[in-house]
């Protein structure tokens, strides 16, 4: 902790200015601390979401990969063209920004595709639903990961600001205010002592 005092002229005006600055610093500190708490909670929420999504992606990826191999082995490459032909509305993702309390992060919103019902190869319906869910989870995982990264960077910055205020700026102003008060009290005591001395001298002169 720093023991330095701010360099100020010992005047009442300076004391008023410093007290105003102290109030402002305390207000900013409170607000930043609240923001930091909310950002940290948000960070953990997004982190949990990212972990869950990652687990889901890994488990589905293996299953979809094996199912793709089976379909490929059974029907050949043409099965995927056939599936494409049955899709009336493709799967799309709108990519944009999301603002989490001033933290900008990338976001994507996935829209579900629509198909023509398939009756010849029934397994295709299940396979396609799995693939859509996997792709949707991958996009959401990317969004959650990016949010975690952006929030982490912002938390570091905010924490530095909060610590600078809490451990440096506010104590420094408080010390300077205390120093100025002591200085004024000292001046007052000096003034009193001087007045007493003057009174003594005047009384002595009168007596003569």
């Amino acid at each position: 902790m720093s023991t330095s005092l701010q360099r100020v002229r010992p005047t009442k005006i300076e004391l008023i200015k410093l007290r105003r600055r102290l109030d402002l610093a305390r207000k900013v500190h409170k607000i930043l601390r609240e923001r930091l708490t909310i950002l940290v909670n948000e960070f953990f929420t997004r982190l949990r979401e990212a972990v869950e999504l990652r687990k889901a992606v890994y488990s589905k990826l293996t299953k979809v990969y094996l199912d793709t191999l089976i379909l490929y082995g059974a029907y050949g490459e043409s099965i995927f063209d056939y599936m494409k032909g049955l899709t009336s509305k493709p799967m799309t993702a709108v990519v944009g920004l999301e603002n989490i309390m001033g933290v900008k992060t990338h976001s994507a919103i996935v829209s579900k595709p629509s198909y023509i019902e398939e009756q010849v190869i029934p397994y295709i319906q299940t396979y396609r639903a799995q693939v859509v869910e996997l792709l949707s989870n991958i996009v959401n995982l990317g969004r959650a990961d990016k949010a975690v990264e952006s929030l982490g960077k912002e938390i570091v910055k905010t924490k530095r600001k909060v610590n600078a205020l809490e451990y440096y700026l506010i104590p420094a102003i408080e010390r300077t205010v205390r120093y100025l008060r002591m200085k004024f009290e000292e001046r007052e005591r000096e003034e009193k002592a001087r007045m007493k001395r003057v009174k003594q001298v005047l009384t002595r002169r009168k007596a003569l």
Partner: protein, 135 residues
Amino acid sequence: MSDKYIEELLKDFLRIINKHLPYTRPTLGELRRQKNPFIVLRDGSIHLIDPSEIELLYQYIDPGDEAMIRIPIIIEVNPKYGEGAAVVREPAAAKVVSRFFKLSHLKEPLFIYGPQINELRRVFRTTTTVVFIAE
């Protein structure tokens, strides 16, 4: 660093802390009609709204209330209410939030606390926002 500069910096913190608030807040009904719903924020950036959250919000409102609820729902954080406490001021939004948390007695303004804020933000990620009030 000069003292004047520090003072300006502190004032700037308070000024820019709410730059993520929107310019205008469309109603729930207006957003539902948009193909890709979004809102423009004070810093000029575009904030995407998840359509699934809009649909979820519809489950917690009375029919016809979609014109009363403005998105994003504002959660007000003010240090004077104590650490971790927040307020939902708008009556329509307070009703939605109280229904979401299954609160039997609706008070206005509605006070919510840390874990509730987290839950609300987890579910309504893009349709809620936090505003910081310095008094």
